[in-house]
Symmetry: C2
Subunit: 430 residues, 2 copies
């Protein structure tokens, strides 16, 4: 049996403690699978004394997390600090510079600085691994990088944020509105006190930017991801979706189009019989379409201590066993600059909900604007009638161009009879 | 760029031709992912001249497939002959003996001789890889061996045979009986002319035996798999399942129990809202429960040229890139002999359908036998009434022991009022 892999762990929050627990509880089987022991030798965190339920008394403690990079007797650094800058980035860069492989769960860091970090790691001849950064316990990074490596990927899409999926599932099951469900999710710990990163789609976009690079061999370009979150999804939209045979999911979608690679995160209506529609609660799912393998689906817990730690330790096992694939599946120097398809050119069917005063001529006004933009209507639903209050009007368009939709509904939103900005949700048949 | 990996392919049926096509069509991206080119240099098949739609004129041809093992200039052998003995086994052994890694899609060979072959490969210091042997394009072997490697696995289960799943799906959707749907599946090429390996559960059992070894670190023990196929599933059973909120699926299940490791393949009733119930047609799905990652689900095409070839080439990319994990995830010498839980000790709820003559006392006779075996009934359904013809009686038991069920329904089957052997289907809540 070879020497142990000696590990330094930076950050002892939920995931860091999880990593220590996995390595302790499953030490024997991990040793068998890695061909050597995995041994945590050093840690750094904000507070030394805190009781975390795992014993760190025998480990080297560093007050300054950056010291882990240069610590003698450390073979690999696990970065669990988080954030796309600051100590997480500094530690990752320092470890790479010191010739030490890095395992991270940090999606923001990879999404923003992934290409540069991958190139630095490659120059230094060290591995940068991040299975835990995307879809928690689901080994989707490995699947795209290795398991499906024979394929030209046409599209990757999925439910990449468990908080949003939990909120949308709760809204559907209880009929409540967004704010009430968010407040409950926060009380239950399923959503952060500051929920913006999740519910505004940023977290999902970080993950999508990473998946795009893995799938298409492109540089990581978080800035090119179109992002919209779920704040404007109302109980009414959820109800209409059900009535129309759809479910609303926050999806991340990356695909090759005639205009370049499209990366987008936004609420979608998906047919309720599609596999992804059935993925509820905090579960994540990723669907990959490859030219030979056709469609594969990967599903599991997207976050949480156990699943995330499982992914971190899988990367450590690979490292210990000497399996050191390129960061994004191909040499970092070969990652190509892509043409990024602008969202304005996206074509698809749309659901639109308007709140209108039910006055004579309002539908005629709306229809005229849509005609001017050559947008054709598949169906139009106007339920209640009220002379004094606004009533919902729901439109389903045929395939239409995003730019035309925006122009049309910009103008429609300004009509005197239309009460609030139209709510557009893209329909994805996938 | 390093030297190409030079490959010999044995067998040019559907999958062999698929491998040639993948390596030709996606050569550039495969080279980028492997860090070197993958080049087929030699082939062997039954008929040299046949037009396969791929050009083999420039490749070395061997009339005797065993010659591939010793051919100079070959770095790796791909075995696509099939069968658990004969030339497939001989070639695999010869290649290993010659120090050449083997990639195979041969589930029967691995299920029957997996432990011995893994040990031989380990002694010779060569890789034996077989992603294509289980669930086609779904990278489940890699997931169990590497991606979920941090976990103690509690259970693996799944739909492992696309032919059976197609037949059961068709039966449900059309209401037709088994024989009619099988005949149609044969006409469409979804079932073999000799369908026994698929519909009697053998193929699924081969795959399960492999998954068990990967999940539990045990020797491969196909002989310890309890196997029952789908021939005795009737249109009536499918209809009753639907009525009771279940779907019938042929599942392979391996799990750790107090009596040892249980391996079984048989038709199951699964709740229609469970994820696996929604996996229809030729799709395969594997569900893994790990102690930290919790539940993960993998789904995709279980067979067919593209998906199977995709898996073979993924193994070749790993080989070319120098990633050479142990055959069953841990050193072959460490694979443990397990206690194998006997099926007779299995405990769970059962669905039983009887055809009975509706005579006074028949239900009393049945109930008395069940009472003698301490089997408690959750529900009993007797629909039609007929003095002259047999009518179906459907029983759902509470948790009961397999041995008691067999004894009871052996006796019940001998009752004069009971027309044919009772049909038992285990209910799995999973």
């Amino acid at each position: 049996m070879r020497e142990p892999l000696r590990i330094a762990v930076a950050g002892l929050g939920t995931v860091g403690v999880g990593v220590l627990r996995v390595l302790r509880d499953n030490a024997a089987l991990i040793r068998a699978r890695a061909g050597r022991a995995l041994q945590v030798v050093a840690v750094s965190a904000r507070h030394r004394g805190r009781d975390r339920g795992v014993d760190i008394a025998d480990l080297t403690w560093c007050d300054d997390v950056l010291d882990l990079a240069d610590l003698a007797g450390v073979d690999a650094v696990v970065e669990l600090i988080g954030g796309d800058d600051g100590p997480a980035k500094a530690l990752t860069e320092a470890a790479i510079a010191a010739g030490k492989p890095v395992v991270t769960a940090n999606k923001a860091l990879l999404a923003v600085h992934g290409t540069d970090l991958a190139r630095a790691a490659e120059r230094a001849g060290v591995t940068l691994a991040y299975e835990a950064a995307v879809a928690g316990g689901v080994p989707i990074v490995k699947a795209l990088r290795e398991g499906l490596g024979a394929n030209r990927i046409g599209r990757v899409h999925g439910i990449l944020n468990g908080t949003c999926n939990y909120i949308l599932t709760e809204m559907r099951e209880t009929g409540r509105d967004f704010d009430a469900v968010l407040a409950e999710a926060q009380a239950l710990g399923y959503a952060e006190a500051d929920p913006g990163t999740d519910i505004d789609g940023i977290d999902a976009a970080h993950k999508l930017a990473i998946l795009t690079s893995l799938a298409f061999g492109t540089v990581v370009n978080f800035g090119a991801v179109y992002v919209a979150g779920i704040r404007r999804i109302g109980a009414l939209d959820i109800a209409y979706a059900g009535e129309l045979g759809y479910r609303i999911k926050l999806l991340g979608i990356a695909r090759e189009t005639a205009d370049g690679i499209e990366q987008r995160v936004h609420p979608c209506m998906v047919p309720e019989r599609s596999p992804i529609a059935a993925v509820d609660g905090v579960f994540n799912a990723v669907v990959v379409d490859g030219d030979f393998v056709e469609r594969t689906v990967f599903e599991g817990q997207g976050a949480g201590q156990g699943p995330t730690a499982s992914a971190v330790v899988a990367d450590l096992i690979d490292l210990a066993a000497g399996r050191r694939p390129p960061t994004f599946g191909i040499p970092a120097t070969a990652l190509r600059e892509a043409t990024w398809a602008p969202m304005s050119g996206h074509v698809g069917p749309y659901y639109v909900r308007l709140q209108v005063y039910d006055r004579p001529g309002v539908i005629a006004d709306i229809s005229a604007i849509l005609r001017d933009e050559a947008i054709s209507i598949e169906s139009l639903l106007q339920r209640g009638r009220s002379a004094s209050e606004a009533v919902p009007v729901v439109l389903i368009s045929h395939e239409a161009e995003e730019a035309a939709m925006r122009r049309a509904f910009g103008r429609i939103g300004e009509l005197e009879s239309v009460l609030e900005p139209p709510r557009l949700i893209r329909i994805e048949t996938l």
